[in-house]
């Protein structure tokens, strides 16, 4: 599309289109949701098939499943402490869902659902609701003391309380925008350089030689994007753990 018209169209890759024919269109099931379903299926398959052998000495798939389990468990226990273990399934689901969304999006023809602000904000909103409910359930009215740290001079209250409330409310925003922006930027860059390859490749005899430049950039970018995909999933999970720590311990 972009190459044929001779222009760079880096954003149409984020367009939602219904899949599964008329039924999918009727229930608004887009390719984004199809990838979510695929990611969920892959995550479940990884754990269920990986652990089906229940081997004491794990095979490849089982070590992958086990190391992802222990990685997230170490993250949650390290941040929240032992009482954070009951939040482990949630953080694990979140981490794997984001990680698989980021990684699947790097495959050709795939759609990156984490490049949609609505999706990342939806996940961040789940986290926000969870930490607020947990904090209220554990500490009741004392939770509101979180917005005014003990020992601070009282006359600072008019400044501290609004700042704390804004920073608390901005958590889901920063959480979602960070992931969304990283994924969009990476995919736009990939698309732009990929279009350069096609456009430059068409420039007569010298074209293919020049086109090697954006191609090599793209190869490096793919490696970089794999790193970003993992890193953003990790950041999402660890920030969630930190928020959970605040909710459980109130500082």
């Amino acid at each position: 599309m972009a190459a044929e018209t001779g222009t760079i169209d880096a954003l149409s890759q984020f367009q939602l289109t219904p899949v599964l024919g008329p039924i999918g269109a009727a229930v608004g099931f887009s390719q984004s949701n199809a990838h979510m379903l695929l990611a969920a299926g892959l995550i479940t398959a990884l754990i269920m098939f990986g652990m089906s052998a229940r081997a004491v000495v794990p095979g490849r798939l089982q070590s992958l499943a086990e190391s992802s389990y222990e990685f997230v468990q170490g993250l949650v226990v390290g941040q929240v402490g032992e009482e954070g273990k009951r939040f482990f399934p949630f953080v694990f689901t979140l981490f794997m869902f984001v990680l698989f969304g980021n990684m699947l999006g790097l495959l050709p023809y795939a759609f990156t659902y984490t490049s949609h602000i609505a999706v990342t904000f939806g996940l961040a909103a789940i986290v926000f609701v969870l930490i607020t409910v947990v904090a209220l359930a554990l500490h009741g009215r004392k939770f509101f003391g979180y917005f005014f740290p003990e020992g601070a001079p009282l006359w600072l209250a008019p400044i501290i309380i609004p700042v704390e409330i804004v920073s608390y409310l901005s958590r889901p925003v920063s959480l979602s925008i960070r992931l969304f922006a990283n994924m969009v930027a990476g995919h736009v860059m990939l698309k732009v350089f990929a279009t350069f390859i096609v456009l430059l490749g068409g420039l007569g005899a010298i074209g293919p030689l020049v086109a090697i430049l954006p191609l090599s950039v793209n190869i490096a970018l793919v490696g970089f994007e794999v790193l970003v995909a993992f890193l953003q999933a990790y950041v999402f999970a660890i920030l969630t753990s930190i928020y959970l720590h605040d909710a459980v311990h109130l500082h």
Binding site: T44, R54, Y69
Partner: protein, 166 residues
Amino acid sequence: MPQLDFGNPLMIAQIVWLLIIFGVLYFVLSTYALPRVEEVLEDRRRRIEGDLEAAQAAKAEADAAIAAHREATSKARAEAQAAIAAAMQSAQAEATQRSEALAARLAEQITAAEARIAAARDSAMGALRQVSTETTEALLQRLTGQSDQAAVGAAVDRALAARGLG
């Protein structure tokens, strides 16, 4: 930017499906998948602990066996040394006894021999006086045709006393 096109009905549907899929995934993972992993990890941990304990027990057993062996060895060595010392002592005692007996017998023989020698000498000395007297008398008889028995006896006695044999 298609992501900010919130008028698109697919956008709302996407969020609804996200909540459904995420919820189902959470349910499946927390109910079926993750307990399975936990079980396997726990099983492995228990097994490793059990193996370590067994190894420690085996080590303790081996240590005890080595200690017992060492004790038995030192005991046997002490016994052997005691036996050697006793044997040497008895051998020494026997040797002393034997040599004492030998010395006593030798001393006895020496005494007997000395007595015999003294007797032989005495008898030889007694015979010497008679032989000397008779020889002197026979010489005097031949030379002078006469002999004074008493004078000859006195002269012989004198001569013997002079030589220290009388």
